[in-house]
Symmetry: D2
Subunit: 356 residues, 4 copies
């Protein structure tokens, strides 16, 4: 089965051809359909900001490493016992690339994100089909197209960020980083009751997307005085919730300054493996009583992400679509930064819209 | 000072002229300006759904009882020490008719709503001026008119309802009762991340307001099967949050049925003094694990209500405006139900917009 | 396999022999050991306060109905894939009679208590062996005997009650009902930071157990003025958390009065199917802003119940032990109320203590 | 009025006599008794771990700086309006050296810890009398002696730490640092439901106090492998709550390693002004999803600290008592580390026990 995969470990943006990482379309064995499993013919599979990290070997170095975990499609087969949630062949679906087993100590404690079997069903979804456990699969609402539906997974991350933000309706919120997670978090936080909502982002085009999608203010951290801007926006109070979706080592420390006393600061991106942010304990944890936390994956968030998706406007995130055979070009487009999001269409002929 | 007051205890809608309660414009003594106090020339003061309850003697029977606690105005004088929050003469303001003392045991525990001195500064605001403690006064955002500003207090109640709802972004929400609190709660819950948002209301005009202001569904409990509708809207799951803003003894019990397992049900209105709702402990607290709670007043909510007010559309709630001298007609209009909200303009010549 | 079961529907305390329900030892088919399952040779299985409700047909009327869900034992066989949590043959264990599937919509939302498959593995454990899914099984700490270990399940209920209590350390707490759940809840709430801890219970012996196990005060609701006592104990504030573990329809309403403003009241017992408690919405939800809730089962609580069990003193709850063949006498003893808890030893020769 | 004060800025443990900071007994003007104020004849005033920081100029350098904020005493005068909480002359009391105004924006938001007037009533209490606002004063329970009562303030800090810990009953807890706050936090967390409770402390005597007062385990970070010990104690899970009460820059980073996935880590001490802890965002916020926070002061905690104090055993913290005139010796004893806590008796003849 044709599957997009990392074929050589290395940075995808390395200018040196000899050391640059590579992505290609590889033939992978078919995935077995277990009794509780669901086979999905994949319609769309989006490139995630973490994919280049995978290419760099963040999660392992044995190539080929199959890619693709933000996907939508149509059910084409169900295992004999995959009937708990009423799924049917032909259903238009998306879902969670991770399965939470429900049995391990973490699942028993209500912390599925640390499930010991979290990788058991993490199969490459930038492929013709993907086979998941029934518990990973969600039917898309009628009003959500398959193209939009491939954003269910990153939407669940934005929902989890909202869950961890402890936001009270009306709180002031800033988001740093206008990539896909930042833009989705912006819309979800807007929808969750954020006020004085501010996007911090150096790229003008991404600031403009944010303004169209609900930001009340934007800050260009390169040309503007971020602290002064934050002060003006919040009347000197600072932001009650600050979210980093940039992963930028240059940005993370400044977010502590623009946070209000008592604020929650969420580091919601991936950072270089060995990067250590200097954290002044007196200024930020003692005097300001900030709460710092992060987001690994998104347990307990998918059913609500399904409810939320119809309310989001993802036009700018679904404009760049490449067919599966042009995966190399798609990743090049992703690395170029020309598009906030790049999507791969995984079947030549678009899968038929299903029964629901 | 001219002040609208209950002058005779009784139901304002009593058809019998002899026993009907009465409201009139009475001369009240001027309120003393203490060192930490703020005198506000009142621009607008809205009639609250609780005012008829006051007329019926809910909080006492010694007439005259001055009315008015949803108001906006312009600061005309400040006590010598009322300088903690930067207030200035000329500021356009609104606020909380209750003062939380900060000293009593309830305030010390973080439960201002039970402040033992909560009534100390509860002065009639349907008057030419009102004098409050500095802690009760909030400057209105520039974009909020004085007319809209008189809705800050009911907005704070909607914020408190949201605070107590334990809503997670994307949860399904139903609101029963399309009066002012119900309509404001609808907008605030929408803004807080409610989905499948449903207004339950027998009056068609109020259902239409709800649909214009963000409801995705409406239910007419008189002509429709409420349970079946709720089932269809929520795909059989029920609503994660159910809010009663109707105060209707006929409505309250049915809300337990349309609540999802594990849901929060908020009784956010006033009910007849001696009304007891039959609560099946097995069905609702044991098997469904519902959480039931209510809202008395709105502590800790005003700063966020100020942030939220610019995001609300209150056109339908500010259309019926009567001058102070027509207070009797205003209350008659309120009782008639012809308008979702009736506002009294408390100074003949509108107060000047202030410095901010 | 010998199994204790309801053999005739009816009240176990019905004086009329003709209509009284009956319990007996019946031969049940062996339970199949699936690949993720664990077979436990049962050491002890305790009679639960809900067992008589089962005899009355609360959950169904098709006899025989196998009983027993509070049990301990030793693993005697493991399915081929039951290796996720490191269980081994010979381990001394206890656990949850309910399996949470991890797949259904409720599990996906973080509300395992409403799992659609919750009954799939609910097998009678008052038997020679019981076969559970791996996810239901917990190894007992070394310091916990098998006899004490059969109380892990009711301890998990007390933990869940604590979880839902929203207790802040130092809050005042009252518990109504000194049966097994009430006594365990008393100890767990004591351990959780309850102060002014009060047991309300008409039976003197049970009040004395409470005093020995951490209650600071006791109230006899029959001979004392409960409101006056509560007032004296709490200096007029009322209790911040009130827990009903009595299931008494006469007791439940009075608990609303002794609750502090803003308190949480947990109805943590089973009540007659059709019993409706009259709830004055104005007094309790509006003016006092109480939060009422209940407890069905105990998700997410077992790992912590295992941690807590060594800290509890359950001597009085493990004194009445009957062999399996005397199950009829054991239930008679339970119904008589002579012992706060009755335990059945399910294997003639006590199972050997395991490897851990 | 005789008052203990910093008379020269500098480290109290500086071996160089020329640059060492100094403390002495200085004559301070009497504090005015305002209408809502309470004058307390001070019985005991304890030296706090933050006092040497004050001597070093952490909060200002204008000497003399009066000291003393952990105190108990007897009311000797009440302002004319200080009647809200029923205080009477002769009451045995303790309290909060900070007044929360109830008026500023922080107080209005429910974040008293950031009250803009927090220092208005912060008067030196290591003195013959101290005058506080009524809201700062709490009557001691009968069973609490004045000597023990001077620990109400540090107890409130331990309560606040518990409040911010998000502990669920049964969670595993470690505390780093066996000074007064660490020991009180140990007892309060024990009382709040901590299990596997572990004290990390290099001084043997302090580890022994911890074991006597409820620690189940101790770790000597100098002679033992902290990570291996934590692993053994928690069966490889790590601690669900980790509290630093050491203020040690060498200790703080290692606490991130022994925290469980999803744990809360509270930095509950003071740290050198410019110390920055290197925080690996990937390891601790992304992969482990830790929550980091701190504690500045203890709002909303005093009423519960009063409830808790009778349950604590503070023998080891109240053994070293010096009269006011020997304040220099008392501080020398504090700096020497010979006692976990040093207390100053502020009136030659002990104040009489009051009316309650």
């Amino acid at each position: 089965m044709r599957t997009v995969a990392v074929t050589k470990i290395g940075s995808l943006s390395d200018p040196d051809d000899a050391t640059r990482g590579r992505v290609g379309v590889v033939d992978f064995p078919d995935q077995v359909l277990g009794p509780e499993d669901v086979r999905i013919r994949v319609a769309y599979s989006a490139i995630c900001g973490s994919d280049p990290h995978i290419a760099e070997g963040f999660f392992g170095v044995d190539v080929p490493i199959g890619l693709g975990h933000e996907l939508s499609g149509v059910i084409e087969a169900l295992g004999a016992q995959a009937h708990r949630n009423g799924l049917r062949v032909g259903d238009r679906v998306a879902g969670n690339f991770l399965r939470f087993c429900g049995t391990c100590r973490a699942c028993q404690r209500g912390r599925q994100q640390f499930c010991s079997g979290i990788q058991d069903y993490n199969r490459p979804g930038m492929a013709e089909t993907v086979t998941w456990h029934e518990s990973q699969v969600y039917v898309l609402p009628e009003s959500v197209s398959l193209l939009k539906g491939c954003l269910l997974e990153p939407t669940s991350v934005a929902v989890r960020i909202a869950d961890k933000s402890n936001l009270r309706v009306g709180d002031r919120v800033a988001i740093c980083g206008g990539g896909p997670i930042g833009q989705l978090a912006l819309q979800v936080m807007k929808m969750h009751g954020a006020t004085s909502l501010t996007m911090i982002e150096p790229i003008a085009e991404r600031r403009e997307i944010a303004l169209r999608r609900g930001a009340e203010h934007v800050i260009d951290p390169l040309s503007q005085d971020q602290d002064a801007q934050a002060d003006a926006i919040t009347e000197g109070h600072g932001f009650d919730v600050v979210i980093d979706a940039s992963g930028s080592t240059r940005a993370v420390q400044g977010l502590l300054r623009i946070a209000a006393k008592g604020a929650t600061v969420i580091y919601g991106a991936m950072y270089p493996h060995d990067f250590e942010m200097p954290l002044n304990l007196t200024d930020y944890l003692y005097l300001k009583e900030l709460t710092l936390t992060g987001v690994f994956v998104s347990p307990y968030a998918f059913p609500r992400a399904v409810q939320i998706l119809p309310h989001l406007d993802v036009d700018e995130l679904t404009r760049a679509v490449f067919p599966l055979e042009e995966a190399v070009e798609a990743f090049a487009a992703h690395v170029s930064g020309a598009h906030p999001k790049v999507v791969i269409r995984c079947n030549d002929v678009d899968v038929q819209e299903g029964a629901r």
